[in-house]
């Protein structure tokens, strides 16, 4: 019998109509790395929780799970707790104690180990993870990435044989996520721990996997090697699933010639074989770069250059404390109505600070911020945020106060117009526009991350903003939810709203922003139309662009590359 064997697992949540898991059968050998993917609500989390007995959800269950030859339920308590490790999305909520060293020891304390044993195991893990430098620090001083590493280290200190990771990098910035995944790879390859990982961001994990499991609506669509998964999925040709796959795989899935590339390097080789020099047509490629965008972006013919900027940041300097270092150093920026402006940059570059300065939450000590041509200081307190400017916080929870989505929206609608009938109508309109009309009776906390994001956005849109500021709106969202979000932005732009989004998500910015600007060290170092911006970068750019570099220099998104390939192939 295999290390982990799931046989015909079915599960229904109490009071739910459909099955959350349906006929799940899966075999995992010891030491394997399994990546589970699928849109939000496809049952990934439910499946992983079933594998961790302590966290198995309540409900109606049938089928069997065998772990190391035994029924999972029959495993001794102690073995179940220590041999199966679980790390989930939010780095902050999983930490129990206030010090790094104590957190690492927490699980071992629970197992009743003696102080010398704990000391040894903790020391071992701290060295393995390279966290000996911050071993004695309070947890509150760590960055998000460090916190998630700590969570992993605390689980690894218990020496598990199987690691269950539920979207562990969803809340991390790309560099921290990369660091986390590197450690996972090390744990899997060098220590031989079996890993089951669910992820939305598949670029990095796909090449690492031995087995990819694609789930949808509680079922396993296909399971197999990452290189074969496209072939396997052929029968189930669904757009929703393909857009979540890594760029090389996505491009391949549209062309389907040769063997499926998994990494950018393999992708480049594959493209070169697909389109030898003689077959390429640079003229088509050039034309392509010009007519890609919507009718409203700054590059479109009907874009009026004399249009006034909705947001104008002029030579802004900011620091938090008088003695502290400058966060923004003479930064200038313009955002126009009907345009999505992507603000990109690394951690600590000042992106979020910039957003808060534009929102009037922080006051620069030098420089000006103009909102629709008016100095931000001249706005009265409430006036700035009504009919004018809104900020979507990173955590939508910070906005939810009521028991149902409807009350949540009604309250905001009420802020602007006390008249019942008008706001009812408006509320219904916005609810339909954002696709939250089915959620109106739910409690905001019972929704998924993507749904919460939409409700928060709906709440803000009821304030009828002309400028929308978004702080990492795609954080933790799956590809499908991102598409929906992008649709919403497009609609807003069509109405002449200016959208400014701060993000680490290059792929999203490349596909959906009109203009991109990169912030570094408190100032913007380059600004330009999205395609030019990314085509001009060599490292800080999309996977598709890196893959097609030298062949189609202006192709930035998967769609670009696919179209260009098809055009060239059809010739």
């Amino acid at each position: 019998m295999a290390f982990l064997q799931i046989e015909n697992l079915n599960f229904t949540y109490p009071n739910a109509s459909g099955r959350a898991l349906a006929n799940i059968s899966l075999v995992v050998e010891e030491g394997e790395m399994v990546v589970i993917c699928g849109v939000s609500g496809c049952g990934k989390t439910t499946l992983l929780r079933h594998l961790k007995r302590e966290l198995a959800p309540h409900g109606q269950k049938s089928g069997a799970i065998y772990y190391a030859g035994k029924l999972l339920e029959e495993l001794p308590l102690l073995t179940a707790a220590s041999e199966i490790g679980f790390v989930r999305q939010n780095p902050d909520t999983q930490i129990v104690t206030d010090m790094v060293w104590h957190e690492m020891a927490f699980g071992l304390e629970n197992l009743g180990l003696s102080t010398p044993e704990i000391r040894r195991k903790v020391a071992e893990m701290a060295s393995f993870f390279g966290i000996d430098g911050w071993f004695r620090k309070p947890v509150s001083e760590l960055s998000g990435g460090q916190k998630q590493l700590l969570n992993l280290a605390a689980v690894m200190a218990m020496q598990p044989r199987m690691l269950l990771l539920d979207e562990p990098t969803a809340q991390l910035d790309p560099i921290a996520a990369q660091g986390f995944l590197d450690i996972i790879r090390k744990i899997n390859r060098d220590v031989g721990v079996t890993v089951l990982l669910s992820e939305h961001r598949l670029e990095e994990v796909f090449p690492m996997a031995d087995q990819v499991v694609v789930m949808d609506e509680g079922r396993i669509l296909e399971a197999g090697e990452p290189g074969k998964i496209v072939e396997l999925l052929e029968s189930e040709n669904r757009q929703v699933i393909y857009i979540g796959l890594p760029s090389p795989v996505r491009i391949y899935s549209a062309i389907r010639k040769g063997s499926c590339p998994l990494t950018v390097r393999e992708g480049r080789t594959w493209l070169n074989e697909l389109l030898p020099f003689s077959k390429r047509n640079p003229a088509r490629e050039l034309k392509k770069g010009l007519d890609r965008k919507s009718d409203f972006g700054p590059r479109s013919p009907n874009f009026n250059l004399r249009l006034k900027p909705a947001v104008e940041v002029k030579q802004v300097w900011f620091r938090y404390e008088r003695e502290g270092g400058d966060i923004l150093r003479g930064l200038s920026l313009q955002a126009f109505p009907g345009e999505v402006l992507g603000v990109l940059g690394g951690n600590g570059a000042g992106k979020s600070t910039l957003l808060r300065v534009i929102a009037g939450l922080l006051k620069p000590y030098r420089g000006q911020v103009l909102i629709n041509g008016r100095k931000i200081r001249e706005f009265k307190a409430g006036e700035l945020y009504h009919h004018n400017l809104v900020l979507l916080p990173q955590d939508p929870q910070a906005l939810f106060v009521h028991d149902t989505v409807r009350e949540e929206l009604e309250e905001t609608a009420h802020l602007l117009n006390p008249d019942q009938d008008t706001f009812r109508g408006e509320l219904a309109g916005i609810a339909v526009e954002l696709g939250v009309e089915d959620l109106l009776l739910h409690h905001p906390y019972d929704l998924s991350g993507g749904e919460q994001q939409k409700v928060a956005l709906a709440k803000l849109l009821l304030l009828k903003p002309r400028v929308i500021l978004l702080d990492e709106p795609t954080k933790g969202l799956d590809a499908h939810s991102k598409e929906i979000l992008a649709q919403i932005f497009q609609n807003l732009c069509r109405k002449g709203v200016a959208v400014i989004l701060v993000s680490h998500d290059l792929e999203f910015a490349a596909e959906h922003a009109d203009t991109c600007t990169m912030i570094f060290d408190g100032d913007n170092v380059s600004t330009g139309p999205a395609s030019e911006f990314f085509a001009g970068n060599s490292f800080y750019t999309t996977a598709a662009n890196r893959m097609a570099r030298g062949m189609f220099p202006k192709a930035v998104t998967c769609k670009d590359v696919i179209e260009l390939c098809q055009m060239n192939l059809s010739r």
Partner: protein, 274 residues
């Protein structure tokens, strides 16, 4: 009580008499008769190893404490004596909790409520005696029962003092806020959960809190202790106690309804029972 400002700041200056101090300690003992009782009960019910261990631990504390108490009474050192008595009173609550082996969710809930109570105290620290702490402790007790109430109060006191400064007042505050929570829990268990009842309770405990803390102040600073001194201490603390009582009522009126509603939802959603 001037518990907010870390160093010992006398709130009244006063003088002589012994009997009053003794009386206040007597009443203190009478008020909490379950102290010794529950210790004995514990030793009777020794079924498991852990219980034995806990009782032994309790006795290790109790015996020297009683010895020291007898020595202190002889010399009229009521300051030390009272601190010891307070510690001894709170011990059984902790031991019971230890013995019960609480679930992870119980711990988290108490920790969240204690954090909010402590945070409220730290945030309002600049305004003497105006703080939401008692109100939050009462709400926690109403939502999750007397024991959770006691622990929320006691833990909030220690945790906030780790920021504001520890001192001999820490055990007193643990006792006071713990008891406020315990009392509120008993009250709501008895069926009186209305905001009005809670407000009245909050108002009374606002004063009770000050009065108990006055005992500490008197035994620590007033020497020798006289009736006049005791009266002076209580009169001079009236406005501070009144502020405390009023702030507690205010915060109960503001918080009780929305918070209890939210806590109930959490209880239902996560299947938590008292």
């Amino acid at each position: 009580m001037s518990d907010e400002s870390e160093p010992l700041t006398p709130r009244a200056s006063t003088n002589i008499d012994v009997s009053a101090g003794l009386k206040s300690i007597d009443t203190n003992i009478k008020k909490n008769p379950h102290t010794q009782e529950s210790m004995i009960n514990t030793s009777r019910k020794t079924e498991t190893n852990t219980r034995l261990k806990l009782v032994r631990k309790g006795l290790v504390v109790l015996i020297p404490v009683l010895l020291i108490i007898s020595a202190l009474v002889g010399n009229g050192n009521y300051g030390l004596l009272s601190v010891l008595l307070i510690i001894v009173t709170t011990v059984p609550f902790f031991l019971r909790f230890e013995r019960r082996k609480p679930q992870a969710r119980e711990l988290v809930i108490i920790a969240v409520m204690a954090t909010l109570a402590a945070l409220g105290r730290v945030v309002f620290a600049p305004v003497p005696d105006f703080k939401p702490t008692s109100a939050i402790v009462i709400i926690a007790a109403v939502a999750f029962g007397p024991e959770a109430g006691f622990l929320t109060g006691a833990v909030a006191a220690v945790a906030s003092n780790l920021f504001l400064g520890q001192g001999p007042w820490t055990p007193w505050q643990m006792f006071c806020w713990g008891m406020i929570g315990f009392g509120a829990g008993m009250l709501s268990k008895g069926g009186s959960k209305s905001v009005l009842v809670l407000s009245i309770y909050g108002f009374l405990t606002g004063f009770a809190f000050g009065w108990v803390m006055n005992i500490w102040f008197i035994v620590a600073f007033v020497q020798p202790i006289t009736w006049a001194a005791v009266a002076a201490a209580y009169i001079s603390s009236f406005w501070l106690d009144f502020t405390n009582a009023l702030s507690t009522v205010l915060f109960i009126l503001l918080l009780a309804k929305p918070w209890l509603k939210k806590l109930n939802r959490i209880k239902v959603k996560y299947g938590l029972l008292e």
